[in-house]
Symmetry: C2
Subunit: 123 residues, 2 copies
DNA sequence: CAGGATCCTATCCGATACTG
DNA sequence: CAGTATCGGATAGGATCCTG
């Protein structure tokens, strides 16, 4: 760190210093805001879902990306994974407390975008 | 659309149907949650900034990506751009009302991640 | 100073095939 | 059913050079 001042202009409280450091929050935030992570988290807000239910909820996601996103989210402790060793196997995913905590502002974000977005006549 | 039911399981209110359609909200949300868009928006919450100030705020971003992200955000009406035709030219960026509106939950999100993240002793 | 143009690399991501 | 493995095309992204 060569300079400690940054955003000290008009920012009320310099609560975080996530802009220059490689603090882990940046990685997690990147996962949370990743292309599919967003939708997985939002989908799971409606309740726990199994792999295929998730895949059907988030139309457009491939199995590969879903599995990959889920792995990342589980690693970050945003999502838990429960394997029922039956035949056929049954794997359920759900939000951890952290995941629910993060899902709030995420849904809020989506809400504001969707509500603000469809302005009549902007092709 | 071959089937209209989706997430009708446990979701309280089916407010949006952003999961299967290619509604524009998905595109905007993707921009908002894009790798750098997040940080641009958060950085601008502290006040209007010029190109190089932004670049310095968001350490790690390249000029190309900053310009590209800014263009996308301006297109989505999240950020405005004001050109002062002086020499040297001076271009200032700031949040639109939409941008500020979206910046709220975004900062909230970042806050929760950063606050929750650094658990003492998890190398 | 603010960025466009170009080149090249890293990664994302879908399709397919295969496993427990 | 719930994945993993691999391949190949598409895209994101960095470095550099150049312009108004």
């Amino acid at each position: 760190m060569t300079e400690g001042q940054q955003l000290t202009r008009t920012v009320p409280q310099p609560r975080y210093e996530v802009f220059h450091t490689d603090c882990p929050a940046r990685g997690v935030l990147d996962h949370v805001t990743s292309k599919w992570g967003v939708w997985v988290l939002i989908a799971l807000r409606g309740g726990d879902l199994r792999f295929h239910e998730l895949r059907e909820s988030i139309r457009g996601i491939s199995e590969k990306m879903l599995a990959q996103s889920l792995r990342a989210l589980v690693r970050d402790d945003l999502v838990w994974r429960q394997v029922e060793p039956t035949t056929p196997p049954q794997v359920t995913y759900g939000l951890t407390e952290f995941g629910r905590d993060v899902g709030g502002p995420l849904t809020d974000l989506l809400d504001r975008v969707t509500r603000r977005l469809p302005p009549p006549g902007t092709p």
